[in-house]
Symmetry: C2
Subunit: 486 residues, 2 copies
């Protein structure tokens, strides 16, 4: 949350009321809204900030941005031209909340981190909650990490180092290592007094943990329960035994799924011996949920983890891989067509109609595949309902295949004057939609079984199937029907 400086004495609407002297009429300065109605950083506010940076007017910038939420400062930084970002951070000085860095795109964050001296960084990062500090540190290379860690107090350094030692994408990297743990025999009153007296509490927390003398987790108590209970009650009487708990080595995707499923707001992280080592918080988990849903979308579209702030070369290279893979698919489809050069030369109408068959199959397969990929990700598709879902997909494919066959058959007959051509395309579309439904379901399932992320790999295989079968069925049936040379 935002810290320090209250440059604006009192805010009324978008107006800052500076009370220079209690006897004078307050001086009123119009501050434009930070965001426009679409939720983007407003042009007026950005112009003021850019003017402040140009004039190196630190007090003005602190007045404008020192009090903003870190998410607003982050969006502001991203809205600035690249060469004004670090100057803004420098000018804000102590008023810059380093939690802002956690809200930035990775490329922007790294460029800021590279351009700030490590002692400034160490000071800023040292003030953060441990989960935020780890989030920032984990992207740095080992040397830069060490340079910052070395300047932190011993206990902070050890804590952060331990979190960084957990594998990437593990719960250990997400967890907050400051939390409150009390023994079960304490009373509610003792617990409240303890919280009032302890200095080094996390910024926010929603539950406290109950541990045995070996620091093994034995329960948790949500804060609202503490507040509703009489001071004399023992913690052991109100604690939730066996709360939902995660190992620090658990995959963050599994953790996110459990948070979502059980509507959790926070949860304990324990080590292999069951000892409490951290606290997982919903705000970090929301980011994971968002990223996971987005990963499927990106995977299906053949995108890596590119960000809008990446450079042209990085983006081009990451997208090229996908295009090259698809080039092979397209080459395979072309090979199938080349088998039918003679029939096509004899009846050019085939060349006109053949892409329709392939593309309708591709569209139908993409629908099924998207459903299958998401159902696998959310664990809705299981070995138990696989047959039921397959039957459903085949029936849907058949129904829609029939409808398209009637429409396309009629259209092709009218266009070419050849009822036979209408029959051929109708048969081909029914066949291709059937395979589209089956492949759209079974390919993601098979990939998942093989340990490959179905979101990333499915569409290449599925498109290959619908292209190859589409061209083969249409051109093959046509050659047979019209007795064309092969």
């Amino acid at each position: 949350m935002s810290r320090g400086g209250q440059p604006c004495g009192r805010r009324e609407g978008g107006t800052c009321v500076t009370e220079a002297d209690h006897n004078e009429i307050p001086e009123i300065v119009e501050i434009p809204a930070v965001r426009d109605e679409d939720g983007r950083i407003s042009a007026d506010f950005l112009a003021l900030i850019e003017a402040g940076i140009a004039a190196e007017d630190a007090p003005a910038l602190i007045g404008l941005a020192g009090d903003l939420h870190e998410a607003d400062v982050a969006d502001l930084i991203e809205a600035l031209p690249e060469d004004e970002r670090v100057p803004l951070v420098r000018l804000l000085g102590d008023e810059f909340d380093y939690a802002t860095l956690t809200e930035l795109d990775e490329a922007v964050r790294l460029s800021i981190l590279e351009n700030l001296p490590s002692d400034t960084l160490a000071e800023g990062i040292g003030e953060l909650d441990s989960d935020d500090a780890v989030y920032i540190l984990e992207d740095l290379d080992a040397a830069d990490q060490a340079a910052i860690l070395d300047q932190l107090p011993y206990s902070d350094r050890i804590q952060l180092q331990r979190s960084l030692d957990y594998p990437e994408d593990s719960a250990g990297r997400l967890m907050q290592t400051d939390f409150i743990a009390v023994p079960p025999f304490w009373s509610v009153g003792q617990t409240i007094d303890h919280m009032r007296e302890t200095e080094d509490l996390p910024d926010t927390f929603h539950e406290i943990f109950v541990v045995d003398p070996g620091f093994r987790l034995i329960g948790s108590v949500p804060l609202d329960k503490i507040l509703r209970t009489k001071r004399t009650t023992k913690i052991s009487e109100i604690m939730t035994e066996d709360p939902q708990t995660f190992k620090a080595t658990d995959d963050r995707e599994d953790v996110a799924r459990a948070f979502e499923r059980y509507n959790l707001v926070s949860a304990a992280a324990v080590d292999d011996a069951g000892r409490l080592v951290g606290m997982l918080m919903i705000d970090d988990i929301v980011d994971v949920i968002q990223e996971e849903a987005e990963e499927d979308l990106r995977g299906l579209a053949g995108l890596g983890d590119e960000e809008i702030s990446d450079t042209v070369l990085v983006t081009a290279r990451s997208r090229l891989t996908w295009l090259l893979v698809n080039l092979c698919t397209a080459g395979l489809a072309a090979t199938v067509i080349s088998l039918f050069e003679a029939p096509i030369a004899a009846m050019v109408a085939l060349a006109v109609l053949m892409p329709i068959v392939a593309s309708m199959g591709g569209n139908a397969a993409t629908q099924t595949m998207t459903v299958a990929v998401r159902a696998l990700a959310t664990r809705e598709l299981t070995a138990r309902n696989m047959l039921r879902v397959l039957r459903r997909e085949v029936l849907v494919a058949f129904l829609n295949g029939m409808t398209l066959a009637v429409l396309l058959g009629t259209g092709a007959t009218l266009w070419s004057g050849l009822p036979g051509l209408g029959m051929v395309i109708a048969m081909a579309i029914i066949i291709n939609l059937f395979f589209a439904g089956v492949a759209g379901l079974l390919i993601p399932v098979a990939l998942e079984k093989a340990g490959v992320d179905p979101a990333i790999a499915s569409s290449v295989f599925v498109t290959t199937v619908t292209d190859v079968i589409g061209f083969f069925a249409f051109l093959g049936i046509a050659a047979l029907w019209f007795g064309l040379p092969l």
Copy 2:
């Protein structure tokens, strides 16, 4: 959370230890784990439940499932064959937590709601937090809604009715109407005592609100802050002034974006006059975040809001729309090809290669389009950075177009023995990738400006562009290059 019956005295691992008598050796019954290692309901547990349903053994079922989290019961219900779902709910009786219904797919929920008597439903729903009750009621038709509402106590009925009166997809439908509001002059001690004495508190909450005598919101205090503060301190001294607040009529998507941006766990909902009417909670917002990310994925793949439990007919109809729209696109592409029947008849190799040009353009466009759709949804793409992003997309398209042109040009030359054909396909692929990049970005942007959801409509237009331009460029350049008849 799960209520009532503790059929298993003490749990050790997956084992239930029933202490029949303190002097006897405890009787140990093996209960299989509810979920298997992939997080799906385990086959063993399901078999036990199915046996219990077949034997109509209510006590056994209550012992197995009465104590589970509502999310587990929901997954269990969905794992059961359709005709065993309502019997399970009936057999669980009072031990069935109606919050379970909020975790079910809509089709499953509706079929259960239709098969339970309205007085049973009213009793179960009456015990829920208001946000859960509204979630269940909003899917019912007016008559069924009224039948349940009529059996609720007056105050509950009025509260639920008011929430239901807010528009669909508004914050008002998501909010919890039980919350704690105190005047600013109360002390922390008074507030804690008030919470200890008030009966009708929400199941969970993370902050309390501060209101003026007109019940207008003036601040909020997170629970951890209350617990850290001395009893004598006034609430007004520790409250957050101007907390992030939403109107009950706000769109839930905007609310979700703000929760995510500002890492909120709960927030107040106010009416048009600024009076506090409800509390928005992160667990409901997580569902919205998930749904919104998924909506983009579904939209791009041409899927409506189908669920894996929908019937074949419903699914087929909802997918057909998309296929028919794409049929028009494919028809347009075929029309372009038909303009070049003469050149194709003269050189059949063109028919073999032309789908490659169209499909590479389609793939590149999908990449750009997916980035654009997500960047629009997350407000990362703005009028300000549009030109920068466009320039980047054009450069990426150009770089990848060049690479593909070299590969395809060489391949086509080797295959056909005609260097000219290699040149033609190289030129065509560069042109098509350029248009793919431009259309992939500008079409979603234009659709958003026109007030159409870019996730749903973009890909039809984008595919049309890459198909039409791909075929036109390749066949047109070939006809010119080789002087083919038109």
